[in-house]
């Protein structure tokens, strides 16, 4: 019994700690579903000490150039052994990112997931282009079952973001999954080891995973055709991050993988 109390107290502390920076609210309404183009999420598990990782970044830039930045949405998750040296984490490392890396049982870097397809199978970056093409054309999940409307503001004085996410059901059937919201930052000036073994001190890091706004594995959402599930979130941003370079990556996933994703720049006041 004492153990249960202890667990409850610990759980309470964790929830209080989380609520201090992030809060959420939820309501359900109905609308006429709009048309929605499909976008694809590439999770790039990378590291500043990984000499081959800039090659993966180049491939992401190539895919964004080919498909557009609203279709290919990449997130560079600094994690794994190449984000640490002698146990010390690199500047862009996050514990949540490392938790994903370990949860997916990854070992090499760079490695990525394309819409978490095929039970979240990891792929080398040379396969990502094939994955994007597959997801947009051949995949059974190439039709988006949901779309998002995201509205909110970021207050630079309090460094607080408040926004609502409307998840709109497009599928004829009710669909259940997880709504995930990540904060990413572009144009971060930090070092990177390069393919020739050299170290570039001022490498321009793009779409870097900074934090999960909600639970690292998302919030439950069930939505039918024409239904709108609205959730409210607030968060307080780390003082070292640059708000105008930040964006929200919002995605919906289920056991078939990521079914829709969108990237929204912060509306900075």
């Amino acid at each position: 019994m004492r153990k249960i109390y202890l667990t409850l107290v610990t759980l309470g502390l964790v929830l209080l700690s989380a609520c201090d920076e992030i809060s959420t609210d939820e309501r359900l309404t109905y609308v006429e579903p709009p048309e929605a183009g499909r976008a694809v999420l590439i999770e790039d598990y990378t590291g500043q000490y990984c000499v081959n990782c800039p090659r993966a970044t180049e491939e992401i830039e190539r895919l964004i150039e080919q498909y557009g930045d609203s279709v290919v949405i990449a997130v560079a998750i600094h994690s794994g052994p190449f984000s640490k040296q002698k146990g010390e984490p690199s500047p862009l490392y996050t514990e949540v990112g490392d938790m994903y890396f370990n949860r997916w049982k990854l070992s090499s870097q760079p490695v990525g997931k394309v819409d978490r397809l095929f039970y979240s199978m990891p792929f080398g970056y040379t396969e990502w282009g094939g994955g994007v093409n597959y997801e947009l054309t051949d995949s059974p999940t190439s039709e988006a079952p949901v779309t998002f409307f995201i509205d909110g503001d970021f207050d630079t004085e309090t460094r607080t973001g408040s926004f609502e996410v409307q998840t709109v059901g497009l599928d004829e059937n009710r669909i259940s999954g997880k709504l995930q919201i990540w904060l990413v930052e572009d144009s971060i000036d930090s070092f990177q080891l390069m393919p020739d073994g050299s170290r570039v001190e001022h490498y321009n890091h793009m779409h870097v995973f900074r934090a999960s706004i909600n639970d690292p594995w998302g919030d439950d959402v069930t939505v039918g055709h024409g239904e709108v599930v609205t959730k409210m979130y607030t968060f307080v941003m780390d003082p070292t991050w640059v708000p105008k370079h930040c964006a929200l990556v919002t995605f919906f996933y289920d056991d078939q993988g990521v079914r829709q994703v969108t990237k929204t720049k912060l509306n900075v006041n």
């Binding site: 590291g47 990984c50 000499v51 081959n52 990782c53 090659r55 052994p81 190449f82 040296q85 002698k86 070992s107 090499s108 870097q109 760079p110 490695v111 397809l117 095929f118 199978m121 792929f123 080398g124 970056y125 040379t126 396969e127 094939g130 994955g131 093409n133 597959y134 051949d138 393919p195 073994g197």
Partner: protein, 227 residues
């Protein structure tokens, strides 16, 4: 004596089977001087260089050469036989891997970035000691667009990297292959293991001809019988 004959017979059978195993040499290992490293060879590296302000690295200087413009996909299987301290790292052909403990590991499958690619195989020691890694190239053909499947085609060459930081370990007395201070059947077994697994240590070169093979087993048996 009967045990020796049985052992030798088994060894001959095993060597016969090893020789029958085809090694695909579309991809070969190459050293810093541009010399092809023969299958089964051991490369010793003992020059530690500064890596940053606080650490050192011993580079292998090994590359893989695509001999005939092969379009096959490859990966490296590497067995860390010994790592006294620090970290072993390999970046090949398109991913990087890092380990601190012994075991069998594999890189991702991919194609070479160029006809000659540095495998960026390095040991980052934090103290004197050794790191012994056996590398084997494996070739694949790619099937399907996405998700692709990689079908095993052949095994390529195997080499052993022997990194040494600090004093080169005392080789011990002649024939004491396993370093236990005695020369006996256990040393014969150690040499046979080296031949069969192709994880070669210089201690197994009993007759000091630069190779570890059946001649070393014979030399060891002679030593034991003559003592």
């Amino acid at each position: 004596m009967k045990k020796f004959f049985t052992l030798l017979f088994g060894l001959c059978l095993s060597i016969g089977s090893l020789q029958a195993q085809e090694i695909d040499e579309s991809f070969v290992f190459m050293d810093e001087e541009g010399e092809i490293i023969p299958n089964g060879a051991t490369v010793v590296r003992n020059v530690a260089e500064p890596y940053d302000d606080a650490s050192e690295v011993i580079y292998s200087g090994i590359s893989v050469l695509n001999v005939g413009g092969s379009t096959d996909y490859i990966k490296m299987t590497y067995v860390i036989e010994r790592i006294d301290n620090g970290t072993y790292q390999i970046c090949f052909p398109s991913t990087c891997n890092m380990q601190t403990v012994t075991g069998t590991y594999q890189t991702g499958v991919g194609q070479l970035m160029a006809d000659l690619q540095d495998i960026q195989s390095e040991w980052f020691p934090v103290a004197d000691g050794e790191c012994i890694v056996t590398l084997t190239i494996e070739l694949f053909t790619k099937q399907g667009l996405f998700p692709p499947s990689y079908v095993h085609k052949a095994f390529g060459p195997t080499i052993t990297l022997h990194f040494i930081k600090g004093e080169i370990p005392n080789p011990g007395k002649p024939g004491d292959v396993n370093g236990d201070g005695e020369v006996n059947i256990a040393d014969v077994n150690a040499v046979i293991d080296m031949i069969l697994t192709q994880v070669i240590d210089k201690a197994g070169d009993v007759n000091e001809d630069g190779e570890v093979n059946i001649a070393d087993v014979n030399s060891l048996i002679d030593m034991i019988l003559n003592n």
